[in-house]
Subunit: 447 residues, 2 copies
């Protein structure tokens, strides 16, 4: 491992996105705070969740099966898995845990209810008629006390609720880090993250924090993953390299229908999630192509390229090609509708798992041409590492007492310090403990 | 308001117990840390939950109705109510919020699964066959980010998960504060808290931290409250002053049956909750007295002192008298069985809502005679304020980097710093954060 410079902290960032494939862990050397932040990635890996854990996450995320006892245990279970990922990435980087200054853990979002109202909440228990319906709320699990206890490292987690308490949507949060690391004096950049959900950050040339626009554009990999999973009866979970979609032909009527999705027209700031673009939406798409009976029959048949025969004249490959085109087009639509009128975009900088989907990336390149669609690799951060790295940086901002949200992105009333700090097991803390032991006798005699 | 001395912090403690009547809020001036801690209560009040909130808490606490979306929103709802309580108690004390150094919020426990295994967890994802069944877990809600945002005050919350991560039961935590404030050089004390659940802390004369034994003895007010609620069809929620029980006669056969409850024989450290002694147990008691048909019929009749006619020869008052005797006797049984063999008890110091139940207190006085049963009032802390004050003190220990659990009480493998720190909006809080960051950095640089 390379040496550690003065004023530099080794920080681990942990993230599991809406696709809940596993824990993405990044270990970075970070210097400075705010606009002076410099981050250098030292190690990165994704530690896949065992299938039982994926099932458990799906289970606790749904109101039908996500009961309080399961949520309670899943929180600890994921805390253990996040801790294992932190320990493993430090080992890979050859760094002893005691040299890690900090862990930033996003956790696993199992519910996100951003609410309709914006700005400062007007909640009052005096007016408590319908207690729940007006409250924006979000729930990330992966108990940070478990992470801090297993690693001994101070851990910052639960970044979203504070922004919501300040009237924001609690998302997106990565744009602040985009602003710190990717703003440019002369170039306008559109930073695109293709996770389960796709989101964009617009950094106009020489922008200030208030100039940054960021919002979720719609599905990233979520719709594609759900379709592949339905077509293959769960044997595959994603369209590797976009190969399946590449074999299909885009259906213009289906694409036009998809592009009528009301989320696309909603003005930013806006955020969305599995509730809108997950499996139920994939089923809705298939229902659009065929009738319900046909759909059921199709999904029970094992024939055909993806386990189902052509639906309503379209093959599964066609449907996937169309959904891929929709995903790319929903990003481009957001750019044309909300970004282009406010400022220049000289390049698109993409990251996230969707960058591995060649069909999606080709579609994006076509939609944005002649604006080049680059990836974060070209800026030193592997596409899969970006979000984990972002939460390492956000954790460090929190410990420095610095706000980590961009009100222009989340809709919050003001910048706020994000997250909760769970103390590690510092030498200082251990000295305190020993001192407590010694004081016991003295203190007791004094009483 | 009295002046603030040098080195003294004004701290608010917030607590809602297993009875979830409302938020108990204590404002105290605290000096020193660890055994040098001195606390002076400045204001105290309980802010009752509106009935809709009580229903919401009951709903989210049960696996049958506590779904992830409700848990998600209830967390924010209670955060708002805890914040309101903090703001209200500061106003009552005539202290502007900017002068409050810290808030310690216990939150509302909605699930507590202490698990059977003790000591360091042996969890590994490699052995993940039955992911949930072996994981100890606990869930407190009342989003501290909402409290910190509404008050601007740094808030420490979620005290229990860290102790569990260290192999403890996450409870009881108040014994550490009992140890700090009530240990005595020559007297052995049994500190008794009569909340929903009753727990005792044994402080032998001149004890050290490792000498403190603490555990839940069984029901406090929980069984009595559940019975009154069943008898009155929810019109009353507790036996005010123990008046109903005072009118009944204890049934020896029923008392003997109750005292056979297996929890009483379990060796400490042990903790229990609503799962064991709540409404389902109250129903079991009534089933013991009569048959199911009779019980149903009885509960549908509005006749009789408490809405039901005599059951199996016993009146509701008799059953309540017996349950009150059982509650007192389960405490005395714990003392005889587990405390007396290890050391002297010269006085009992009781606190919690149960102290208002005169029948219960008389039963306790009889059971412990000639050992006097005093209340915390006699030590300067009103019986209802004690737990809220304890979490103010625990929060301050956390901010000072000091462990707040007693392994002898919780069964944890070691003392750990409890809770999560949510930064407020004050320069002082920022200083603490920087200190936390610097300590870690120093430790890291020295390595």
């Amino acid at each position: 491992m390379r040496g550690k410079r003065r004023g530099e902290d080794l920080v681990i960032g942990l993230m599991s996105g809406t696709s809940y494939d596993g824990v993405a862990a990044a270990l970075a050397a970070i210097r400075g705070t705010g606009l002076a932040t410099r981050a250098e990635l030292r190690a990165f890996a994704t530690f896949p969740f065992p299938p039982a854990v994926r099932r458990a996450i799906a289970e606790v995320s749904s109101p039908a099966t996500g009961t309080v006892d399961r949520v309670c245990r899943a929180n600890v279970l994921l805390g253990e898995l996040f801790a294992e990922a932190a320990i493993a990435i430090a080992r890979r980087a050859g760094v002893p845990l005691r040299r890690i200054a900090l862990i930033g853990s996003h956790g696993q979002t199992i519910h996100h209810l951003p609410g309709e109202k914006r700005g400062r909440s007007t909640f009052s228990s005096k007016k408590l008629n319908v207690p729940f319906s007006r409250l924006a709320a979000t729930l990330q699990i992966g108990e940070p006390c478990v992470i801090a206890e297993r690693t001994g490292v101070t851990t910052v987690a639960d970044f979203r609720p504070r922004d919501m308490a300040a009237g924001g949507q609690g998302a997106p949060l990565v744009p602040y880090v985009d602003y710190l690391l990717l703003r440019h004096r002369r170039r306008g950049r559109l930073v695109l993250n293709l996770g389960g959900i796709a989101n964009v950050t617009h950094l106009p040339p020489a922008c200030r924090a208030g100039d940054v626009l960021a919002f979720d554009t719609g599905p990233g990999n979520m719709l594609l993953d759900a379709l592949v999973s339905l077509f293959t009866h769960g044997r595959r979970t994603y369209d590797r390299d976009g190969a399946m979609a590449a074999r299909g032909t885009v259906s213009d009527p289906l694409l036009r229908w998809l592009l009528r999705h009301p989320y696309l027209r909603r003005k930013p700031p806006k955020s969305t999630g599995r509730e809108a673009f997950g499996v139920p939406f994939a089923r809705e798409v298939l229902l659009r192509v065929t009738g319900e009976d046909r759909l059921k029959a199709g999904l029970q048949t094992k024939a055909g390229a993806f386990g189902v025969p052509p639906l309503g004249g379209l093959t599964p490959a066609d449907i996937l090609a169309t959904a891929t085109a929709f995903t790319a087009e929903s990003v481009a639509d957001a750019w044309r509708r909300f970004v282009a009128p406010r400022g220049r975009v000289d390049e698109v900088v993409a990251s996230g798992g969707g960058c591995h989907n060649r069909t999606l990336m080709r579609r994006l390149a076509d939609a944005f041409a002649p604006i080049p669609v680059l990836t974060s690799d070209e800026f030193g951060t592997p596409v899969d590492a970006k979000e984990a790295l972002a939460f390492a940086i956000l954790a460090r901002e929190t410990l420095a007492g610095r706000p980590g949200n961009l009100p222009s992105a989340t809709g919050a009333a003001r910048p706020v310090v994000l997250g909760k700090i769970v103390p590690g097991r510092k030498p200082a803390a251990r000295r305190e403990q020993r001192r407590l032991g010694q004081q016991r006798t003295k203190g007791t005699q004094g009483t």
